[in-house]
Amino acid sequence: MAEDVVFLPVRQLAEGIRARRLSPVALAEVFLDRLERLGPRYNAVVTVTRGRALEQAQRAEAEIAAGRYRGPLHGIPYGAKDLLATSGGIPTTWGAAPFKDRCFDFDATAILKLEAAGAVLCAKLAMVELAGGMGYRQPNAAFTGPGVNPWNREAWSGGSSSGSGSAVAAGLVPFAIGSETWGSILSPAGNCGLAGLRPTYGRVSRHGAMALCWTLDKLGPLALTADDCGLVLEAIAGRDAADPTTVDRAYRYDAGDPAGRRFRFGVLRGITDGCEDAVRENFARSLEALRGLGTVEEVALPDLPYDDITRTILFAEAASAFEDVIESGAIAGLTAPEDRYTAYARDAILAKDYLKALRLRGVMAREADRVLAPLDALVAPGRSTVAAMLGGEVRSAIRGTARDVMGAVGNGAGLPAVAVPNGFGARGLPTSLQFMGRAWEENTILAAARAYQSATDWHRRHPADV
């Protein structure tokens, strides 16, 4: 099979597979070859799961030939961030040297759901060690090396789902699963010019996923289009008895054509303060495009310490979740020097302050919902800057070196958001636009993102030399 299938959206690949113009086995071979050949260039891959992939692809091919087509992910290759447990001797490393040989004897629920949908697991993808929970300040914070950006190989692919971003952007897999505690889906999606969907907290089971922060962790897709994100979300969403935070609320992706729909968008006052010039200019152009799809109005949230609320919850829960790794001194084996000691400082978080953050989180969630209620989405730049350079320092709201009200509120309140590319900035690196909605409104924000992508062509551009 020729490589002209690379950079086809999942929806188009699925049409070819369903019509039996595309062979799942041949498709898997194309992407397995690219993962093995090009994966090292981007430090994108921990393990190529060739054996499991070919087994799944052969099963898909046989089922489809027998008329048992499961749906749009049947026979579609994908990669999973290496914090999702996989059985069968496939390591699950959490991106961290101390765990590089560790295997589980079960599959994470998201992996099982994708298998049930007929998707083909081709790789476990690289990530920032322990999903960035130890306070990293630089791209080189994984035992696989820094995630390399396919748009500019001297730049970072983003974190912490770095391999999920670079693998999709380089055409190594049609989609990938990432995780977000604060920014880890939207950041690599934005840095790599992709669509990335952070679902509502409780939409997707976290069972079998590394816990960084129990009340902040979400799993979601990175793909070429917002439409593809919806297809993947439908496959992985749903109640799971093994994750009590999941809700009994069915999700069916509504892929209906948003043409003709008028959206009501809000923009937080001052949201581009501190953004790079290109980010601000591209966002202004995006707003012009959005005015063609509906209305745009300025809105405001009350003055609350949003970043401090979410940061305190994140630090306290991460310190507890990784208590054994920290107190045993195993963090000394991590890659980034700052990851070997920063977490010790988290013992300084007082229980009363953590509880205050949880109480303020309730206020934050109610205020965010009040602002969002009359809107279809809040829109904002996906990131305030383009990707950091590999040798540079990563600016991060988590550490307080950048500002990210949308991320603090969105993650702290568990709200869904989708990022899509909206132009380019310095050094030929992509910028992005995010749509954030009320809880459980993934279909609304995906419709808005699809409408934006129908009116623009940023998502059809791909890196040269991949």
């Binding site: 305190t312 013992d347 300084a348 978080i349 007082l350 307080g400």
Partner: protein, 70 residues
Amino acid sequence: MSEADAVRAEVETLLALVRARYGSRLDADQLTGVRTAIEGIVQAARALRAVRLTNADEPAQPFAAYRAEP
């Protein structure tokens, strides 16, 4: 005590706690990094404490009594 002195005192107290627990593992540069991280934690905590809440403002945290089924 000035605001700055209060912050400094809190940072030093918490740093002493961390040093007592983990000091044997930390060199001078790392201790400086830990101090910087604690300064951030203290600043965040003070921002949280500055917001007044009422007795009715509960943590946004579900807890449910457990009983094995059946």
